[in-house]
Symmetry: C2
Subunit: 418 residues, 2 copies
């Protein structure tokens, strides 16, 4: 119909997402997309689909000339990369849900798309049901995107919401999240921030054309956040969120990091509770946009995969305009951040590294707020260790050109208060 | 590049949106889209573009075989329809921002697209910077969409926000909105609900495949809302919003209307303040999604037009899957709604038409809450007249199958309370 092509799909993975996808495609003949073969690891497992559909031999999919789309929803990073790269080499379009793989093989995946002129779509790997990649690709041009701030991990957001609303501590909240299926048995990938970091790595490519590695980006999870931090947030009328963010500075460079942050109640991210995700994009033209939805789970993920499949029918591909048609900005650590730090022992805090300290509180759990150069976070790790909890303040970034003025003002204030 | 076609645009209208669009295209050669000619009404007006670009003769655009895209951002409905239909007949793709025209000529525009096999995109006519049409087209299939609720008019939302937050009355808030450019000199199109109604008419097509006329849909604006209504909302911990909504009932039919509604604080629509718009979509797969952004203004509108132009490059068109590949559901008025009514005079309220009344308050401004069949709103107008203010309650829709049970319960409660 209308020159759209018929899609014949080879599917890798038949877990909850794969099976969900299979069911939806069965029920929706109007999509003109059928799954010809499914490659699985464990042939013994009982499946809710005809046995003839399955194989354990991946070349039955990758070498079948009839199959023009490979959909990959498996969990392991290296096998996923092998599948994706072979598929692109064999002239097949690819839809992938593997965040970690995409983050770790970003350059290679970009090169393969170019070399073999095939689309590679991965909306479900970012925020599942929220079409963030599509919007970054189509709505925002490089020069126009001021900032993007997002909650991209549902597990950590669920835990923070529970700590905040029910005043339970991190461990209790984590157990609750695990019982409800919002956190994995091994939750470290989520709670230490790795999952958000992976997503942020490739979202920076769609947002700004920046092709970086996860290790370029300063990050932390929520493992050190204390109930006392939530109490301080309450007092200051803030909430705590794990925020992945990027901002274009006045010098044209981009500041990007994934760190816990205090957010004010009128920040759209404050609206994002429990396992939901949210993305706030600010640009010259569209102004402020906010997208909110489920960022994980079998159906939201399957719906994003489906939307990518549907887009392939009319030849959609990411153009990476900001990367290929512009000179992309570079990442920088040359700016300052205002941070809140809570800790048990003053000795663990290198106070001499702060530009100035604005507030400190004694007590069993001590805390301070102060301004520090971002390089100190990039190069050191004291702020992640020894039970130290670092949380960014709402307007955290202070650029070079503002720092002198602010420092002078702050020292004057300190003088008055002495 | 990649088989994408070069777009040569004929632009109708050079107001703030048209001029904004011209500037962006000038600055973005990577879009491979250039404006060849601009048709304007008033040749005497000074324009910020080369004189050779302009004409007052529309056939210079519509009959130019080199021009393959017509972008139409003029204000008048009938001339806009003439432009759009001629363009489609002449084999040109069309991008339109004319909400009223689209609502009034919906059937004809659908027929023209089919007959001449040309795309007609109109994202900017819905919620400007919020990609709601694109999402309805691509993410949601007919059987999956439970409901869609939206704030689609920025003027009325600005006025309601001010009434609510600053406790000023409707007229003062309207004047403020006009001073800030959020409301027109003649605001009736916005405040009486016509603008929201127009948008809702064609959004129902993308959401459910329903092709209706504006007059099929029960609607009202905010012109009767009193400061005392806002005070009641405050008391009940609600806010008041003008909500366009549609819900698939258990019988497969769709209830759709545009009316003021009390919303709870955890409803994403409560987050939408001032001139912003917001859309909440609930579906089986993606679950609940919320989109938020600027729904009007020159740049947000231009950015949506730009996004449509960009989509034309890879041959994107609306497929209207719910209309053409399914049997679309029909609109129904056969359900009940729970409403709040405030009024000056009991005599104006036909109490016998209510199934039951749950609450009433005497005083200078009286109010009640009660349950009424929706047909009474469809067929009568007392609820819009005589200074009566009708506001839906948060869970307003009561289906046929629930009404008996609820009525019995309500009468028992009344008995107890006697």
């Amino acid at each position: 119909m209308n020159g759209h092509r018929q899609l014949t799909i080879g599917l890798f993975g038949f877990g909850v997402v794969g099976e969900g996808l299979y069911k939806v495609l069965e029920q929706t003949p109007s999509l003109h997309a059928t799954i010809k073969k499914v490659c699985i690891k464990n042939p013994g497992k009982k499946r809710n689909a005809p046995a003839a559909l399955f194989t354990t031999n991946k070349s039955e999919l990758l070498d079948d000339p009839e199959i023009n789309v490979i959909v990959e929803v498996i969990n392991e990073s290296e096998p996923a990369f092998e599948i994706v790269s072979t598929a692109l080499k064999n002239g097949k379009a690819v839809v992938s849900a593997s965040k970690k793989m995409i983050a770790e093989h970003l350059t290679e995946i970009l090169d393969l798309q170019k070399k073999y002129d095939q689309p590679f779509l991965c909306e479900s790997a970012a925020c599942a049901s929220i079409p963030v990649i599509r919007n970054l690709e189509e709505y925002y041009d490089n020069d126009l995107l001021h900032s993007i701030r997002a909650i991209v991990n549902g597990s950590t957001n669920y835990i923070l919401t529970k700590m905040f609303e029910d005043k339970i501590d991190f461990k209790q909240a984590l157990i609750q999240a695990q019982q409800l299926g919002f956190a994995e048995a091994d939750p470290s990938l989520d709670i230490e921030g790795w999952d958000a970091l992976n997503k942020w790595t490739f979202l920076l490519t769609h947002a700004y054309g920046i092709v970086g590695k996860p290790e370029d980006i300063v990050f932390n999870g929520i493992q050190n956040i204390k109930l006392s931090d939530a109490a301080v947030a309450h007092e200051k009328n803030y909430e705590i969120k794990l925020v992945a963010q990027a901002k274009k500075l006045n010098n044209g460079k981009v500041a990007a990091f994934v760190l816990p942050q205090f957010v004010t109640h009128d920040d759209p991210l404050a609206f994002v509770k429990n396992e939901f995700n949210g993305v706030v994009i600010e640009s010259s033209f569209a102004d402020k946009q906010f997208f909110y939805g489920k960022g994980a789970g079998s159906f939201p993920t399957a719906s994003a995969v489906l939307s990518d499949i549907s887009a392939l029918r009319y030849g959609y591909r990411y153009e990476y305009k900001k990367l290929y048609y512009h000179t992309p900005p570079v990442l920088t650590n040359d700016f300052f951040v205002r941070v809140y730090l809570s800790f048990d022992d003053w000795k663990r805090i290198p106070r001499e590294k702060f530009e100035w300290i604005e507030e400190w509180h004694a007590g069993e759990r001590k805390y301070l707020t102060g301004v520090i150069h971002f390089n100190h976070l990039k190069n050191d790790s004291w702020w992640k260790e020894n039970n130290v909890s670092l949380i960014l303040t709402p307007d955290t970034i202070i650029e070079d050109i503002e720092i002198r003025k602010l420092k002078k003002k702050s020292l004057e204030l300190a003088g008055i208060m002495d």
